[in-house]
């Protein structure tokens, strides 16, 4: 089982893992609060300033799976995998605009999840449930994929095992994660995120300097990769039966519309996920969020460089049958063992942070928006926090079961569908932050239509697909296509159906405190950085 273990790399890997484990447990007394309150356990007491939020959100959004999957896609098809960059460029103007409003109204009314806001705004607990279930279903496979990322690097260290034993190291790591998340709540990933992000920056910067240097510069790297892509396309066309493969250093014409819509749709979906909102709502002020809209793009740059690893792998002559192995294989080939251990630890710890935040986000959602409205509406704060802690364990066991019993491809398909599902709550959230003209039941029906239409488009007998042809003659990302239907249905029905449900929020709740108080001419510009 451990005959082929790379000992130097493994020792460094385990060392870092132990370090973050200790931090995870100690985090419970960091910025101490009463952890029997959901607000404290599940949002860290809403007191994370710009810096902590930066590390936490960065650690939360740019996950281990991203570090594995984006270069894998670039390795497989080239430019198309780069959609991750325009995607992350679009996110931040949106965050800058929308999220301070959500933070304000949430702090005012004690909202912990998207569902809390939806119920407060629309007074419709079925829409609240729809939002909650969407978040839960989309998050579970996402956590599972973090485990896939982690397992890839554990295997690359040389660990081999038969049957269930193959998952033994992963299980140990995950049980430890589950325990300190249970104890410390959101404080644990917030603290570990510091280590994770610094490690990721070091490994990415080292990789994009050293690897091209060894391979003769970026020009040579791109030229070599271009030749590999051309050969791949030619080989596919020459095969019997011929396959039309789209791969290359730039997009083919047919790839352009899917590229654009995938970037847009992914951007709309991202901040609907429970774990993103958990990160945003744990910030200490709307100002901290606006700062982060300007500082988080640093991670996008890193992601762009990570994506280039897929190109570099071709220049380095890496041949793998499963593209997801490309990053570990590249590192094993190009770096000394100690740095391999460091980089793999960065990826594995990179899985722990989002997995913890996702399980907390999912647990908060279940407690607040499924259990409280439908099972026990008279929970005390301590009961709420207790249930959320328990649910964070259940969610993790569920994700682990995914890895044990369900093929990885299924988790990948499911995560893909997760985006299509998550984007369906975008209309309810974003309309809600600006207007109450569009209301509960129309949004619920829109959600249902969008969801069914999206799943219908994504289903093919062979596999689930993310992109579908349209009557206009080009293909688009299904998430964006289906949310359009959702949007139209919600708007049209809002004019037909009566709008008489209660709304506990007031327009001023959405504005920053100071902008409400000060008349415009007295208002001092917001200090930046």
């Amino acid at each position: 089982m451990i005959d082929h273990l790379n000992w130097t790399a493994t020792i460094i890997f385990v060392g870092f893992f132990v370090l973050v484990t200790v931090m995870g447990f100690l985090a419970s007394s960091w910025k101490a609060g009463d952890l029997t309150q959901l607000n404290e356990w599940g949002l860290g007491g809403r007191q994370f300033g710009s810096w902590i939020t930066w590390f936490l959100l960065g650690g939360d959004l740019y996950t281990a799976y991203t570090v594995i999957a984006v270069p894998a896609l670039v390795y497989a098809v080239g430019a198309y995998g780069f959609f991750a960059i325009p995607y992350t460029v679009i996110i931040y103007p949106l965050i800058f605009l929308i999220m301070p409003r959500l933070w304000n109204v949430s702090a005012q009314h004690g909202y912990v999840t998207a569902g809390d806001f939806i119920f407060g705004r629309y007074g419709n607990k079925w829409l609240e449930l729809a939002v909650a279930i969407t978040g839960l279903v989309a998050t579970m496979p996402y956590i599972a994929l973090q485990l896939v990322g982690m397992e890839k690097v554990i295997q690359a260290l040389g660990f081999q095992g038969e049957g269930y034993m193959a998952h033994a190291p992963l299980t140990v790591a995950f049980v430890i994660l589950a325990l300190y998340t249970y104890k410390s709540g959101l404080r644990a990933p917030a603290m570990i995120a510091f280590v994770k992000d610094i490690m990721i920056y070091i490994f990415v910067i080292a990789a994009v300097i050293i690897i091209p240097y060894q391979l003769g510069g970026f020009g040579a790297v791109f030229d070599a990769a271009g030749k590999v892509f051309d050969a791949k396309v030619a080989a596919a066309a020459a095969a019997t039966p011929p396959v039309k493969l789209a791969a290359g250093l730039i997009l083919t014409d047919a790839q352009i519309a899917p590229f654009i819509t995938l970037a847009l749709g992914s951007a709309f979906a991202l901040f609907m996920y429970p774990h993103s909102l958990t990160g945003v709502l744990s910030a200490s002020s709307p100002r901290a969020i606006r700062h982060n809209a300007m500082t988080l793009p640093a991670y996008s740059l890193v992601l762009g460089l990570v994506a280039l690893l897929g190109i570099m792998a071709h220049a380095a002559g890496i041949k793998v049958t499963n593209p997801q192995d490309v990053v570990p294989a590249l590192f094993l080939k190009m770096f000394p063992d100690w740095f391999v251990g460091f980089s793999f630890a960065a990826i594995a710890i990179g899985a722990l942070v989002p997995a913890a935040v996702m399980s907390i986000g999912a647990a908060n959602t279940f407690t607040r928006n499924v259990w409280r409205p439908f099972v026990n509406s008279n929970m005390t704060d301590a009961q709420e926090s207790g249930l959320a802690k328990l649910m964070s364990l259940v969610v993790k066991v569920g994700a682990l079961a995914f890895i044990f019993f369900i093929p990885t491809q299924f988790a990948i398909d499911f995560q893909l569908l997760g985006g299509v599902m998550m984007i369906q709550i975008f209309p309810a959230m974003v309309f809600g932050l600006y207007t109450r003209r569009i209301h509960g039941w129309p949004l619920f029906i829109g959600w249902a239509c969008g969801l069914l239409f999206g799943l219908y488009l994504a289903y093919t007998p062979a596999k689930w697909i993310p992109v579908s042809p349209t009557p206009l003659g080009f293909s688009v990302y299904i998430g964006l296509y289906s949310v359009l239907l959702n949007f139209i249905v919600a708007v049209v029905l809002s004019f037909i159906l009566p709008n008489n449900a209660p709304d506990e929020t007031a327009p001023a709740d959405y504005e920053d405190d100071d902008t409400v108080v000060a008349p415009p001419h007295l208002h001092e510009p917001e200090p930046i950085l």
């Binding site: 430019a79 780069f82 960059i85 325009p86 992350t88 460029v89 679009i90 931040y92 103007p93 800058f96 605009l97 510069g217 970026f218 020009g219 040579a220 790297v221 791109f222 250093l249 730039i250 997009l251 352009i256 590229f259 654009i260 970037a263 847009l264 606006r290 809209a293 300007m294 793009p297 996008s300 740059l301 762009g304 460089l305 280039l308 902008t515 415009p520 208002h523 001092e524 510009p525 917001e526 930046i528």
Partner: protein, 57 residues
């Protein structure tokens, strides 16, 4: 004005047909890649500008 400033980087990001080229290259990077990477700091500059005039809308 704030909204225009925020919209510019988004539109640039999805103006894919206008940056889907190999040439001109910079430091060996095809245009497609360096433009995408350059877009990230540019978007920050636009958000920063929007935040400066944010108070006056």
């Amino acid at each position: 004005m704030k909204y225009i400033l925020l919209a510019i980087p988004c539109i640039a990001a999805i103006a894919t047909p206008y940056y889907n080229f190999m040439e001109p290259r910079m430091f060996g990077f095809p245009f497609f890649y360096w433009f995408n990477l350059l877009l990230v700091p540019l978007s920050v500059a636009f958000i920063y500008a929007a935040s400066k005039i944010g108070a006056s809308k």
